[in-house]
């Protein structure tokens, strides 16, 4: 059986409008004069409707008008059908954790067994559904009264290489339950790392969640990081067990064992192991730890060997001679250029449009030092470049005209306005967590040693983020996302004109980090985690070639290697914390159900028909 529910019941107030034609009808009825008459039989002979017939038509008209208004109100209230039988009986959803922290020996078999028990223990009147989750959630079996389908489906679920995300699993289970009554039985190892801050799924208050715990392995050794270095590769080993363990490591390059190492790792901590091996410039390296008791997926970590590609930076000056026009900045960039980290290309402002229009040769970052010679085409090209994913650094020094910047087609949104100031001030980062300042590490405090005699006033907007302030309260470094690209505006000079920054040791790393940050996304990624993927979700660890021909190493999420568990009480507390915004999720489910059914369209259609019939009948009645 089905019942009717409404997505926006507030519109049902509109049903009161149905009283309008009724009132009008009654008022209209009163306007007809009553008169006793002798020759009524002569009136009856006239081709006019008799009272009874007309009264019938009036009632039909009234019914049509009322119906149309009722349909209008109902359509706006967005009705949809709900399965009242299912509501009565409820739904039991078994959410099965399939993350790789469930993959130790015998662990997932035990999980399946517990899941089967949960299915069999579901109340007799309940429908049963099965959801498998890690970083994503899949409905393995839709709600059904029969148990065999669920039991069979559970056998088909296996642990993967993904990480636990409780919110995702619970949210999907709640969606399956929808507006019906139900309960969720989650079969999991209660891994603490599964409650990450990320994830938007939540559980409604009315749906109870019962955790059925699967035991964790006695210990787990995991290779959580591998990095290449000039002295050889370095591997980081995590011991997730309760006691110290000896980790036996093997370094493989292109599938061939190159070196072995061993290290004793204390309980609950990580240890680093260096392999005294010179790695080839290109190839596929991996470090494997022997661990029969723990999770197989994190026993290997993969590293793609490839020389770093320099970040191409176009330096825009008036004449295209950066060495002469921006001496200090040019020197700072040359340092990285020499190391092969940056590829500097001086560009005259007047040629910027042509340069950016060259196919397949766009730089990663455009550093704009001047607006002289920058015409409208150049500004438009810069705007297009940024929105296509490029990075732009505007140095708001003496050569950058505020008016010109204001017309940069959006690039110059936080453009410096008039109001130069002449006073000594310092640069203060808004927070140390931004990648630019994070990369500077402890040295970030040295930025305060720079004295800024002149600055440009940058007016932050809702779309900008201020990364650093001057000590007088003005914005010093502002960031703005432009579609796929990114814009940074520095509110002073970078060539020793308005400040003494170029003569400070922080100048070179600060400039480099700004450029690296702007160009970071443009450089090809060498590593993906399971669950990531530019197009399709990556499911397995190892090496793979993406659709655009780029090779990457695929590793597991290192957080999942930590087998630290929660107690059931802690888990329940975390679930309770996640129940906050469930109304949104429920509304989404209801909205989806309503959209699928789309009865409001039929309501409006019927309303139109009712009005058409009313018009027709009304015109015939006169």
């Amino acid at each position: 059986m089905f019942g009717v529910s409404f997505l926006v019941p507030a519109f049902l107030v509109g049903l009161a409008a149905a009283a309008i034609p009724i009132v009008l009808h009654l008022l209209k009825r009163e306007t007809a004069v009553r008169r006793a008459f002798a020759a009524v039989f002569l009136i009856k002979r006239t081709p006019v409707e008799q009272a009874a017939r007309r009264r019938l038509r009036e009632w039909i008209l009234l019914a049509l008008r009322v119906t149309a208004l009722v349909l209008l109100a109902l359509a706006f209230a967005r009705p949809y059908l709900v399965d009242t039988t299912a509501q009565f009986g409820g739904v039991t959803v078994v959410a099965l954790d399939r993350s790789f922290s469930m993959s130790s020996a015998g662990q997932f078999a035990r999980a399946r067994e517990l899941a089967r028990e949960a299915v069999n223990a579901a109340p007799a009147g309940d429908a049963v559904a099965v959801v498998a989750f890690d970083e994503t959630a899949t409905v393995v079996v839709q709600p059904s009264a029969g148990r065999p389908a669920a039991l069979t489906a559970i056998e088909g679920v296996s642990a993967g290489a993904g990480a636990t995300r409780y919110r995702v699993g619970l949210s999907r289970a709640a969606e399956v339950i929808g507006t019906r009554a139900g309960r969720i039985v989650i079969v999991t190892d209660l891994q603490r790392s599964g409650w990450g801050a990320e994830g938007q799924g939540v559980v409604p208050d009315r749906i109870p969640v019962t955790a059925v715990t699967v035991g964790s392995p006695a210990g787990n050794l995991a290779v959580t990081a591998v990095s290449g270095g000039p002295s050889g590769p370095r591997a980081t080993i995590l011991n997730g067990g309760d006691g110290s363990r000896l980790a036996q490591l093997t370094l493989l390059v292109d599938g061939v064992e190159v070196d072995r190492a061993s290290v004793t790792v204390p309980a609950g901590v990580s240890a680093e192991v260096d392999f005294p091996v010179v790695l080839p410039r290109r190839g596929e390296a991996s470090v494997v730890v022997e661990d029969d008791a723990g999770y197989p997926a994190d026993n290997a970590r993969y590293l793609l060997l490839a020389p770093p590609e320099p970040l191409e930076v176009a330096v825009v000056t008036a004449a295209g001679d950066a060495a002469a026009e921006a001496f200090f900045l040019h020197q700072a960039l040359q340092v990285a250029d020499a190391q092969g980290r940056l590829a500097i290309e001086p560009v005259a402002a007047s040629r910027l449009a042509a340069r950016l229009a060259e196919p397949g040769a766009a730089p990663a970052v455009v550093l704009v030092l001047t607006s002289r010679g920058l015409d409208r085409r150049g500004v438009a090209a810069l705007d297009e470049f940024a929105r296509a994913g490029g990075g732009v650094l505007l140095v708001a020094g003496p050569d950058l005209e505020p008016i010109m910047l204001g017309g940069l087609g959006g690039v110059g949104q936080p453009a410096p306005a008039a109001g130069d100031a002449a006073a000594d001030r310092q640069l203060v980062p808004a927070g140390g967590r931004h990648p630019i300042f994070q990369a500077l590490g402890e040295r970030v405090g040295n930025l305060a040693q720079v004295r800024y005699a002149r600055t440009r006033a940058i007016e932050p907007t809702d779309e900008t983020r201020v990364l650093a302030w001057f000590s007088d309260g003005a914005a010093a470094l502002v960031e703005q996302d432009l579609d796929s690209g990114r814009l940074l505006v520095f509110g002073s000079d970078l060539d020793d004109a308005w400040n003494d920054f170029p003569r400070h040791p922080m100048f070179v790393p600060f400039v480099h980090e700004m450029l690296r940050y702007l160009g970071g996304d443009r450089r090809a990624r060498r590593e993906l985690l399971v669950g990531d993927g530019p197009a399709a979700r990556v499911e397995e660890t190892g090496f793979m070639t993406l659709a655009d021909g780029v090779s990457v190493a695929v590793n597991v999420n290192r957080a999942e290697s930590d087998p630290t568990r929660m107690s059931v009480a802690q888990f329940d507390a975390a679930v309770a914390q996640a129940r906050g915004a469930m109304a949104v999720s429920t509304s989404d489910a209801e909205g989806e159900q309503e959209r699928d059914q789309g009865y409001w369209r039929y309501g409006l259609g019927l309303m139109a028909l009712a009005f058409a019939a009313e018009s027709l009948l009304g015109s015939r009645m006169g």
Binding site: R34, R35, A36, A38, V40, F41, L42, T46
Partner: protein
């Protein structure tokens, strides 16, 4: 054709004025006296109820009727004829069905008809005619046989004063009953709105004519019934059947007027064919025309 009073001297024939006069007897007298006062130019001048004519004595005549004064002057025997010898039975038939209860100008058709009936009775009595009275709706409500006795007029007027409106009308039925009961040729005056089945009504009147009666029909219709002046949407309730019809008068007026004119024309045409004096009376008009019509018929009966 609708005829009404035109002279200011006939103001006492105005139904609105008559309605304000006290008793029915006084009303009748007022109407008739007023009517007769205006008859100085009438062709009925000299009509006498005391003396009609002389004729030569014939064998078998009552010797007491010989006018001896004439014999003394002319030496011839003449018999004096008195008006009593020319008296007729006059029957006034009054329709008191529900439809007669309609009236738009102060009085109803039934009231108008009762004034007219009273006046006719008074006039008949004044002429020494025997007056009979019958009130009917779908059946005979009151019936007083024709009589010329001095107190009979009072009885007729009393009945007229006490007549109440009935239900549905069935004009043909009393006509047939009266025709069956007629033992002597006379005058039958029918006062009705004739909002009935014309076929039946005409058949009843033809029956009367077959029995030798002179028939005068006054079809009394209200001014509203003749002109249908309504404008607002109206729910018309039938006075006899209580049926209701919702109608927009402006839209149906033409059709209604055609219907009423067709009905009137049919009565006028077909009744004339059978020798019935038919008169359409607008009840908003004075009563003189009705009296005149009666006298005209009475004169033909001589």
């Amino acid at each position: 054709m609708v005829v009404g009073a035109t002279g200011g001297e006939l103001r006492f024939l105005d139904p609105a004025v008559i309605a304000r006069i006290g008793s029915i007897e006084l009303k009748a007298r007022t109407i008739v006296e007023g009517f007769l006062a205006g008859l100085h130019r009438s062709p009925f001048k000299g009509f006498s109820v005391e003396f009609a004519e002389y004729r030569q004595y014939l064998l078998g005549d009552d010797l007491s009727t010989i006018d001896w004064k004439v014999y003394a002057r002319s030496d011839r025997h003449y018999v004096k004829k008195f008006e009593e010898e020319t008296n007729v039975d006059c029957h006034v038939l009054l329709d008191v069905s529900g439809s007669m209860g309609y009236g738009s100008t102060g009085g109803t058709k039934a009231e108008y008809a009762s004034y007219l009936a009273a006046a006719l009775a008074y006039l008949m009595n004044r002429q020494r005619d025997a007056v009979g009275f019958m009130a009917f709706d779908d059946d005979i409500v009151t019936h007083l046989a024709a009589s010329a006795r001095p107190g009979h007029l009072r009885s007729v007027l009393l009945e007229l004063d006490q007549v109440k409106l009935g239900s549905r009308s069935n004009v043909a039925k009393p006509l047939h009953q009266l025709a069956d009961a007629l033992v002597k040729r006379g005058i039958v005056v029918l006062l009705s709105d004739l909002l009935d089945e014309p076929e039946q009504v005409i058949r009843g009147l033809r029956h009367l004519r077959f029995r030798g009666a002179d028939v005068v029909v006054f079809q009394l219709l209200d001014h509203d019934e003749l002109t249908f002046p309504f404008e607002r949407v109206t729910r018309f309730r039938d006075l006899e059947t209580a049926d209701e019809v919702l109608a927009a008068p402006l839209e149906i007026r033409d059709h209604y007027l055609r219907e009423i004119n067709t009905l009137v024309s049919r009565y006028e045409r077909e009744l004339r064919l059978v020798g019935v004096d038919y008169h359409l009376v607008d009840t908003s008009k004075p009563l003189d025309f009705a009296l005149m019509s009666y006298l005209s018929t009475r004169s033909r009966h001589q």
